[in-house]
């Protein structure tokens, strides 16, 4: 036998180059032993498992085929109500990414940032190092020196990561999405009184896809593209809805997306002008009396008279001090305030108690301005109408770049349907109007009475009320703050009940500690909308890193993803690296972020290696661990172990401390192992063990809620234990499209800060939809005369999968869609490389000429290029500057430095409030740029054969046991 001179290292490198077969080659054949014929002839062991895809935020149920321990096929699970037998490219990418030569299989220490030169270390060493670096910083500067960040929707870390720093005594975690994606549209709805939001992206909208009793005949998709973003799930369901059931759609989107192409009416709204368009709809509906008057009278606060001084609705007792509220709870537990309206029966102002509509003593008028105690007071409805009044169809058409007749056609489709609904997406979350736009969308469905009805988007599945509905505020609207720290107001209970709960809370130390943490959370005092995920305003963290004030976060644990691809104004984060002492990352692969920034890396599992659960409509499925490579671990485990080790070494007195909040199914004190996670899944399905569950999936998967139980309606009308209709979980027990909670939040921090009273902010949060112009306006910007917006592609999700070879062959680089007329003005032809420049920087794309973009408007997806640091590159780099729209976007961090006299409203660089008032959302879409013809940037690949190094190679990697 010839002596083998190939070492394991060269074998691994060679196999990464050309696959196992080529690596064997001539040098290895003589070293191979003959296999027994029986073994060689034996058929492959083939098994199929039910699992779920985690390629995006809407998991699809799938069937995974495993041959001799290698996944060879993924297809849709016919039991899945939405994706049925379908899967999309994002799902299939897993066959590449799980076995990618880019997978990191062991913990690593970075020899030097920005070199991709790593040293493999053991898990024990990695955990110890992470705990030590966090511990050292805390010993030197205090716990606020530590912070964390999560990924985006579909992230690999789960919500578990969000308040991980609290376990160390720090209040700060940010998400690149968060206030720019999810929080505004999802948290606005409960503040108005809806338990579920209109967000189609986050599986909040389920009723249109109800095939048990299909009623949906009309859907407005506002700033979303389900066909692209959740292709096999709600995208597939949308196709069924349109084709099988003839559902009509209106799509509001600057981009001619596949959903827009199939729509009955497409409104190509100018990026950043959604609030004006919403107000034109509201005005049209009011003017033409198309709204559901009875619903608005008795189920909303639109008829409430508003105190012009306080901007809050009058309470009956303010006008009639001796008023006896007939609906007051004699036990003083539940709150049922009486308000004031203008009564059409008596033509006078009257108390308006909470009753069933048929029992109401008044016929409240929705649009009115009357005198109350010597002052002119308007109803909430009147205030709304006056705000909408300037926005005629013509005015909106001109401002929003839409045809007035098309706006009208769209509105009529919406109003003339028996029932309809608005399905809202991420677009407006990424703009300054992030709180006002969802208010407008919610107002529309509210005024039309499209609430809790078959076929609409706002429904309450699998839930009925026994008592007056209540609402918790805080992380994920669960009772976490209330139970663990005794803080925050619970809406629906009386002042007496809430006060006694706080006073009687025993652990005063934790209560005081958490109240102080909330105050010290960066940016939270100004942007109080972060309460829902308990995260932090990202620009405020960045500002603190750069300036050191009010304190300096300096050790960073990032849970997921490529921060340089997904954070607004990516360069500003790169500039901060020199202020950050130690950065820990975890992910399946090294991304630009890990390349440039990380000092320590934990290798994470891909979803084929996970265990977990997920739902689609009324069915719950299982993520099934079918393979395991290297020393990868579940994304909960690394952070849990780091926290445990930190406490053992630096804070043994905290070993029993329940912080951080128990947000997921596991607490900080739990010692997590992979088997713990498996057992947890087995419990969810009531199986005797995970092993039994995995081998007998047909007995358990899917877990089904009977459809007649799952789909239920009109819960607000059901009589509950106080003899009144349930209503909604708000202070008034009615829907509050005049959102009093936004006023409370900006005035005192109520309800989240209760019992504390925070300082009143300079500007009230807007309680209704008002027009919020974009910060940068192409109609007046002479230096950057074009407007650019963004969205997703069907091949990738957020910053993921750019190393999936076949997907890159389909979409090697981002195309920048541009109207041919605009392109001609710049001498640009189809597929030319162009350079796009904003006030923040420049990047590149290929010009894709299409009439589907309005003249003067561009569309481009965020992108990054992992090939930029492939070993073949002569001058490797992080790959995040070449083709990334987030080099152009802004987070307005520099505005935090400006002094009062520097602000100039209307000046895009000096606007005092360039962020959304409530959530601090900055602008990722609808900002101004200029373009010029250019060349293909360095270090990026375009031709299919160039992606060969990304082809999967780890299929022969041995299956391994648990790390923990």
């Amino acid at each position: 036998m010839a002596e083998l001179t190939m070492t394991r290292r060269t074998f691994a490198k060679a196999s990464a180059l050309a696959g196992v077969a080529a690596a064997v080659g001539a040098t290895m054949t003589e070293g191979l032993a003959d296999a027994p014929a029986a073994f060689a002839d034996a058929p492959a062991e083939v098994k199929t498992y039910k699992s779920m895809c985690h390629g995006c935020i809407q998991p699809c149920a799938v069937l995974v085929t495993v041959e001799d321990g290698v996944v060879t096929r993924i297809q849709g699970d016919p039991d899945a109500p939405n994706n049925k037998t379908g899967v999309c490219v994002k799902c299939l990418n897993q066959l590449h990414t799980c076995y990618s030569p880019r997978r990191v299989l062991h913990p690593m220490k970075h020899v030097e940032r920005g070199t991709n030169n790593w040293e493999t270390i053991s898990w024990d060493e990695a955990i110890e190092l992470a705990a030590d670096k966090i511990g050292e910083a805390i010993e030197k500067y205090g716990p606020y020196s530590f912070f964390a960040s999560g990924g985006g929707g579909g992230l690999y870390c789960g919500f578990h990561g969000y308040n991980f720093p609290e376990g160390f005594g720090s209040p700060n975690t940010f998400e690149p999405g968060g206030a720019q994606c999810f929080e505004p549209r999802v948290t606005c709805a409960p503040l108005v009184g809806m338990v579920c939001s209109q967000s189609i992206a986050d599986s909040r909208v389920v009723e249109p896809f109800n095939t048990y009793d299909p009623q949906c005949e009309m859907l407005v998709i506002w700033g979303a593209q389900p066909t692209i973003s959740q292709t096999a799930n709600s995208g597939h369901a949308m196709a069924d809805l349109r084709v099988d059931r003839g559902c009509k759609t209106v799509v509001v989107d600057p981009n001619f997306s596949p959903d827009a192409a199939k729509a009955d009416v497409w409104l190509p709204v100018r990026p950043g002008t959604d609030t004006a368009l919403l107000l034109s709809w509201i005005r049209y509906i009011f003017d033409n009396e198309l709204y559901d008057e009875q619903f608005c009278k008795y189920w909303t606060n639109l008829p409430f008279l508003i105190n012009p001084d306080t901007r809050f609705p009058y309470l009956a007792e303010e006008i009639w001090p001796d008023y006896k509220n007939p609906s007051a709870d004699p036990n003083e537990v539940y709150s049922n305030p009486a308000y004031v309206c203008f009564d059409a029966k008596t033509n006078s102002i009257q108390p308006f108690p909470y009753t069933a509509p048929a029992d109401s003593p008044v016929d409240p008028v929705i649009l009115a301005e009357v005198e109350v105690n010597g002052k002119k007071a308007k109803t909430a409805g009147q205030i709304y109408w006056e705000e909408a009044e300037p926005w005629t169809l013509e005015a909106a058409g001109e401002y929003c770049w839409c045809k007035p007749e098309k706006i009208e056609e769209a509105i009529r489709l919406y109003t003339d349907a028996k029932v309809a609904g608005i399905a809202h997406g991420v677009a407006t979350d990424q703009q300054r109007c992030a709180s006002e736009a969802p208010l407008g969308c919610l107002m529309l469905d509210t005024m039309m009475g499209y609430i809790y009805k078959p076929g609409c988007t706002i429904t309450l599945t699998n839930q009925h009320y026994e008592s007056r509905p209540i609402a918790y505020w805080g992380p994920m609207m669960r009772d976490l703050w209330v139970n663990q720290y005794g803080i925050s107001w619970v809406t629906g209970y009386t002042e007496k009940w809430n006060r006694e709960r706080v006073e009687n809370f025993e652990d005063k130390e934790s209560q005081a500690w958490y109240m102080q943490m909330m105050k010290d959370k960066l940016g939270f005092n100004r942007f109080r909308g972060f309460y829902n995920q308990d995260t932090t305003h990202a620009p405020s963290i960045l500002h603190a890193i750069m300036t050191g004030e009010p304190y300096k976060p300096r050790v960073w644990y990032d849970f997921s993803g490529n921060k340089f691809a997904v954070c607004g104004n990516a360069s500003s984060w790169y500039d901060a690296l020199g202020e950050l002492d130690f950065i820990i990352g975890q992910h399946p692969i090294v991304t630009s972020f890990h390349y440039e920034a990380c000092d320590l890396f934990f290798p994470m599992k891909e979803w084929l290696e996970w265990n977990g659960t997920g739902s689609q409509q009324n069915k719950t499925f299982m993520y099934t661990e079918v393979v395991h490579l290297g020393e990868t671990a579940h994304n909960f485990i690394s952070s849990n172990r780091v926290l445990q080790r930190y406490r053992e070494k630096y804070k043994p007195e905290d070993l029993d401390n329940p912080a951080p909040l128990n947000r997921g199914d596991f607490k900080a004190g739990d010692e997590l192992t992979e088997q713990t996670l498996r057992n947890h899944v087995a419990e969810k399905f009531e199986a005797e063990s995970w092993e039994y569950l995995k081998e007998h999936q047909d007995e358990f998967i899917p877990k089904v809620i009977p459809e007649e139980q799952y789909y239920c309606y009109n819960q607000h009308e059901e009589i509950v234990d106080d003899g009144l209709p349930a209503g909604f979980p708000t202070e008034s027990r009615k829907l509050e499209p005049y959102c009093t909670m936004y006023l409370h939040m900006s005035r005192t921090g109520f309800p989240i800060a209760y019992p504390a009273q925070w300082e009143q902010l300079e500007t009230d949060y807007n309680p209704i939809c008002v027009n919020i112009p974009p910060v940068e306006d192409p109609t007046t910007d002479t230096e950057y005369p074009l407007v650019i917006t963004s969205g997703r592609l069907p091949y990738f999700h957020h910053g993921t999968m750019r190393h999936a070879a076949f997907a890159r062959e389909l979409c090697p680089v981002p195309d920048c869609k541009i109207n041919p007329k605009t392109a001609a003005e710049y001498g640009i032809e189809h597929m030319d490389w162009i350079k796009i420049t904003s006030r923040r920087g420049s990047t590149h794309a290929r010009a894709y000429l299409t009439e589907a973009e309005a003249p003067g408007q561009l569309w481009m997806e965020r992108f990054w290029n992992p090939e930029a640091y492939d070993a073949s590159q002569k001058n490797p780099d992080g790959g995040w500057r070449q083709c990334n729209i987030n080099v152009l976007t802004t987070n307005f961090v520099e505005n935090l430095d400006l002094s009062e006299e520097d602000f100039v409203e209307g000046d895009p660089e000096k606007t005092k409030n360039p962020w959304n008032l409530v959530y601090g959302s900055f602008t990722l879409r609808g900002f101004t740029v200029k373009i010029e013809k250019s060349e293909r940037p360095e270090n990026i690949w375009v031709e299919p054969k160039e992606f060969q190094p990304f082809m999967p190679t780890l299929q022969s990697e041995p299956q391994t046991g648990d790390v923990y």
Partner: protein, 273 residues
Amino acid sequence: MTMVMSETDTDTSKADELPEGSYPAIEDLEERVRADEEAAVTFTLEGLTHAICKQPLNRPIYRRILMFFDEEHSTEEAEAFIAEIPEFTYAIQPEGRFLDVLERNGGIERVAVEDEETEGAESAEAIDGSQEDADSAAEAVEDSETAAEEAVAEDEAPVDELASLVGARWIVTDLGRQYVEATDPMAPLKQLITQDADRTETYLMVLGMCAEASQPLAEIERAVRALQNENKSAAQIQPSIYLDRLERVGGLYWKGQWNITEEGRKILADLTA
């Protein structure tokens, strides 16, 4: 890097079939090394500063090393010195890595030693940059890489790179001196302490505490809060800001507790005299 063939096998056709974009063949490697080296010879203060500052925990270590090499020293002497630097206790890179980074970014350079062969392309190239040296450098790289490939395990890669430091002697470059001068702490320290009147007293108090004895964070926090309570015109800010700022400009250092540096002691004496 191509596969290493056995002695009995002369069939190189498989190497020719490697797809594009994969690891370069030996002849490409020579060109790459040459290109890298040509690119590397242009050093700038900006580049050196970036390399030193991109990991802030290492910043004070690098500065002290540059000052150490104001006189010529061997690698071994330097490593012994580095090991004693207080901040090095918290570094995650070995001593040699600091020398490697400084050399690659023009802060220090090797001193030519007569009649001594040095290994490694980078070290050979640093001497005079001639084509002959580039050729022998490329050969040295190949030899060194072949040797490294026959070594034990993958995770010894960092050690391979640092092997070329063994036996070398070093001196600071002009660029390195420029960096040291530009980052002299005295003027920035004075400015930091005196520029905001509502913070001066607190800065001096913190320095004074650390001059008397090492201080844990809790003591400093207690003292700062007490001063803020007593003197409402003192800036009502987090105590950690003072520590962060003083450390950043070189007035304090941490070794288990907060300690004053020599520069911090001097400025304290100057300002309280």
